[in-house]
């Protein structure tokens, strides 16, 4: 998404005005976040990976008492 697109998105969607400098920084950061997370998800998130949550992991560990050394 370009700087112009980001500024327009925030303005029209959430009524938040950003400066050109803020839009430039956001564009750089969002491209990095988007690409990194999408690449990570591509090899981890499948239709059968849900339901999977941290809460379930935590509850399972509590159930098994794995925290004790």
């Amino acid at each position: 998404m370009s700087e112009t697109d980001i500024a327009a998105l925030l303005r029209t969607q959430d009524a938040i005005a950003v400066t050109p400098q803020e839009a430039e920084g956001l564009a750089r950061l969002l491209a990095l976040l988007n690409d990194t997370v999408a690449a990570g998800a591509a090899v981890r998130v499948t239709i059968d990976s849900a339901p999977s949550s941290f809460e379930t992991l935590r509850a399972g560990i509590a159930e098994r008492g794995e925290e004790e050394a």
């Binding site: 998404m1 950061l29 976040l33 941290f54 925290e67 050394a69």
Partner: protein, 473 residues
């Protein structure tokens, strides 16, 4: 017995329970120090002197009658100003909420009340808990008791400074990306970021609820264990706690780490660490090894991915919570705070959902790589010496951003993973400021972390050191 101001939390509770001191005497000392030293470090938001002294006298009367005064009976505490107490102003460190008076009381405060602790008032924090250094455009920067030209760390800036300067022996903070661990490390105190979901968040101003945690900042691991025993456990008002254990965290502190294996991940954490930090890390590992722990080297998974996932979750949730105020009152946000929230408005929903769906898997990947078959992980809390306030507020924006990012290098990913972490002071760098390591565990692994932290502190005295101008008044 030490001077009253220099007693730790457990020592204070014991002295009051034994009748060696009165709660009123200890509380009066704490109030005097909060009023005189507190402003020097910008640690205090508001105090209730008369209410605190009256509560202290009530504890003393109860003890005199032989009543059970609780595990923290008569111990004066103060907490980060984002925990609601019905009828008391809670600013959240913000201008927008400078007059906000909640009508509910946080679960953690109710639990401390139930254990007999006194609540003397509210402590400074970064605006809306959104700065790792203690920056606050409205109430001033949190300052280190070791040197006020340096930040106290954030966002629980007042909690770290107040415990280090011996204003109180314990304080609650909150941690979303390192906000308990940064001030603990930067002020030279012990801080516990619990497993996400161990301590109820009800009545705490949220920052990013999927990551938010509440935990103690204290002088020692034993003190932290006492506070955690009181505040942790299931609460029907916060469903994420329903699988949380309800236990005594103090009973396992034997001073013995024989049989424990400590993993030291190579790569990400250590390559970013400056040489004097690495030397302090290695020295702390030597202490634990001499005490009987086994040390093994491990690796880490893709930390760039974990950090990106953390940022997606944090900024998306913070943006949702701040949307209306950021739209209507943008001038009431500090520039650093606004910059931390803004990305969340443009993160696609699918990225946020992916980040949440990947969380358990990433936690498993990190635990497999970094911990392996070990019992806990040892990494720096800060990979660099504590930065000065000028370094994180003045100069070119990219330099300031880089200085701030270095503070969170070792902490933010662990928040996304939801894991518990204990920050333990382990020495001082050339600038005279404290350094610390963090012990990271499996979900609900707090007992192991506290056991190892306590064992380390029985063999070292960094956690007992007094900042130079924080002696008797």
């Amino acid at each position: 017995m030490s001077a009253l101001f220099d007693l730790g939390l457990v020592e204070t509770a014991q002295a009051i329970a034994d009748g060696a001191v009165t709660s009123e005497a200890v509380t009066a000392v704490a109030l005097d120090r909060l009023e005189t030293l507190g402003p020097r470090y910008n640690a205090v938001m508001a105090l209730d002197r008369s209410g605190a002294l009256e509560a202290a006298r009530a504890v003393d009367r109860a003890r005199a009658k032989g009543e059970d005064i609780g595990a923290l009976g008569g111990v004066p505490l103060a907490h980060k100003d984002l925990l609601y107490r019905a009828g008391r102003v809670c600013t959240g460190g913000s201008l927008i909420r400078k007059d906000f008076v909640p009508d509910i009381t946080a679960s953690v405060l109710e639990r401390l009340d139930g254990a007999g602790a006194l609540d003397l008032g509210t402590l400074h924090l970064a605006e809306f808990a959104l700065s790792p250094t203690g920056f606050n455009a409205h109430y001033g920067h949190g300052k280190s008791p070791w040197n006020p030209a340096y930040g106290s760390g954030g966002s629980s800036s007042g909690s770290g400074a107040a415990v280090a300067a011996r204003l109180v022996s314990g304080a609650l903070g909150s941690d979303t990306g390192g906000s308990i661990r940064h001030p603990s490390a930067m002020c030279g105190v012990t801080g516990l970021k619990p497993t996400h979901g161990l301590v109820p968040l009800y009545g705490a101003m949220p920052m990013a609820p999927s990551l938010d945690t509440i935990g103690p900042l204290t002088r020692s691991a034993r003190d932290a264990a006492r506070m955690l025993s009181v505040i942790a456990g299931p609460d029907v008002r916060d469903a994420i706690t329903l699988s949380a254990p309800d236990r005594d965290y103090e009973s396992g502190l034997t001073g013995d780490v024989r049989g424990l294996t400590i993993a030291v991940p190579q790569g990400y954490y250590r390559t970013a660490a400056e040489s004097e930090i690495l030397a302090l890390m290695d020295a702390s590992l030597d202490v634990l090894q001499e005490a009987g722990a086994r040390i093994v080297e491990t690796t880490v998974p893709d930390m760039m991915l974990i950090n990106a996932l953390m940022q997606v979750v944090m900024t998306s949730e913070a943006a949702a919570l701040h949307r209306q105020w950021l739209s209507a009152r943008p001038q009431d946000y500090g520039a650093q705070v606004r910059a931390r929230i803004l990305p969340g408005f443009a993160v696609p929903a699918i990225r946020y959902v992916e980040a949440m769906m990947m969380r358990a898997q990433m936690a498993r990947e990190w635990l497999t790589a970094a911990m392996g078959a070990a019992d806990l992980v040892h990494v720096p809390t800060l990979a660099v010496p504590v930065p000065s306030i000028a370094e994180t507020t003045e100069g070119a924006p990219e330099d300031v951003a880089a200085a701030i990012a270095r503070v969170t290098h070792c902490t933010r990913g662990i928040s996304y993973l939801g894991l518990p972490s204990l920050s333990v002071p382990c020495g001082f760098t050339a600038n005279g400021l404290p350094a610390a390591f963090q012990l990271v565990g499996r979900p609900y692994g707090e007992p192991v972390l506290l056991r190892a932290g306590d064992a380390y502190q029985r063999r070292t005295d960094f956690h007992t050191r007094l900042p130079p101008e924080c002696g008797a008044l």
